[in-house]
Symmetry: C2
Subunit: 271 residues, 2 copies
């Protein structure tokens, strides 16, 4: 999907909501466990209930891999079920030496047909660039993540003018691609980081996890992170998909997504 | 597998060779392509031919994921085929926020039964610790990797006394576990880094990729990286598994592994 298509979808749906499909078999409603593929069954209903309000879906590969080959099939079926005009993110946090990263890129962009994949920056340029060689596909590079451990290394000062590691990661990697094929992950739990990040990459999309269960605040994120074209995808996983654990889980997830979308519409109108 | 069991295996086989199963369908001998599962067929023959000389096998998950669910099955079958007394490494370079890293740990330690998994440090403590909660299982944390891009971020100076990021990663993470459940990845392409690393972690095992196709030198690695119990697993992937592309590929791989084992035996005798 191109940047332009993503912009248009945001305008049309008045939403920049990404729904995280972190589907844990231990957390889905019990009545689904009789289905042949409970994880896919759950995802299908969540997608049906939220697709009107979401511009992106982000399955996290860990939840599928935990079930081996069968889980990988659930992931493939889920991807195929997502409407083609919605942006898809394989939240895989992959990266390896050049020839191996190429294999990961083939896994997510060819064997499957995700629009984007999250990539970890620690191994540097040749671990990231193979993902940038695919037309209309995106790297979403980890920069300042939402978890407590994110502070351990990402925030260390790496130069005498006070540059932090995550800023160095953004500054360097922005040279490997551009605003049409790289986005950055910035946790909603630290909106203050967004001010400096927007100085470095005013045009790039940012993927913001951590709203909801992890405690991030949508308004603060938008205040510091939005650019004139929106430029944000804000993800909520647990806050939406597990908002109810009965047979009405999908309806509840739809309501939760709608509530966020209404908030987002208001914010977008002020742009 | 415990540290003691790994020591004993090294002594018995007079080897600290790890064979990397980076099995690329485009590179395996053509006659195997008629098999039902060519990747597993290849791995089986490679394992049969090298198991006498190897103390560890390291399939890189990228090469399996590139084939989706079917590839994941090849990986599972490969793991089951490896003799139980040989150390197994899922070279997956995973890590995510705490609850998600737990899912990855379950994928590799419960759904499959790998002894260890390679983990990327960028997301910090809560992304690594879930892997350390399993008895007799290991985290092999990326420190100074063998690829050119490894220099982009791992070597940046992070303190006024000249500490590099990879040194910080080792120093901090050594507090999260110990020499019985953490190893570090240090590329054979930069043996000089091993001097400083051995000061930080004299007792830990180091996994050294990059000997062979990537140009690393075994003698230099041993000179700077060995401790009194050996403390090294030296990996070769392409240099062994693709040393011949005819029907005699397995025999050739066995010869190549044997050649390295003989070199290693000599080095071990001098310990």
């Amino acid at each position: 999907m191109t940047r332009q298509q993503l912009f248009e979808q945001i305008k049309e749906k008045e939403s920049f909501l990404c729904v995280g499909l972190d589907t844990d078999i231990k957390k889905i409603p019990k009545h689904l466990l009789d289905a042949e593929d409970p994880i896919f069954e759950f995802n299908k209903k969540i997608i049906d209930a939220t697709k009107e309000y979401a511009v992106a879906y982000k399955p996290n590969t860990a939840f599928y891999e935990a079930h081996g080959a069968k889980g990988w099939e659930s992931l493939q079926k889920t991807l195929e079920y997502i409407p083609k005009d919605i942006f898809t993110i394989a939240d895989a946090k992959r990266a390896d030496i050049g020839n191996t990263s190429s294999m990961y890129a083939r896994a997510f962009f060819e064997n499957m047909d995700f629009d984007s994949v999250t990539v970890a920056p620690y191994m540097g340029s040749d671990s990231v660039k193979p993902f940038l060689e695919f037309d209309r596909k995106w790297v979403i590079l980890l920069a300042a993540t939402s978890n407590p451990g994110g502070l351990d290394f990402q925030d260390v000062i790496v130069s005498s003018d006070g540059e932090k590691l995550y800023e160095r990661v953004i500054r360097k990697s922005a040279e490997w691609g551009n605003a049409n094929n790289i986005m950055y992950v910035v946790g909603a739990t630290r909106p203050e980081a967004l001010i400096g990040i927007r100085r470095l990459v005013p045009e790039h999309f940012l993927l913001i996890p951590g709203v909801g269960a992890q405690g991030g605040d949508l308004k603060a994120v938008c205040k510091y992170g939005m650019n004139k074209h929106c430029g944000l995808l804000v993800n909520s996983s647990r806050g939406i998909i597990y908002s109810d654990s009965t047979e009405k889980f999908a309806e509840a997830a739809g309501k939760e997504a709608h509530k966020i979308q209404v908030e987002m519409a208001e914010i977008l109108q002020r742009l």
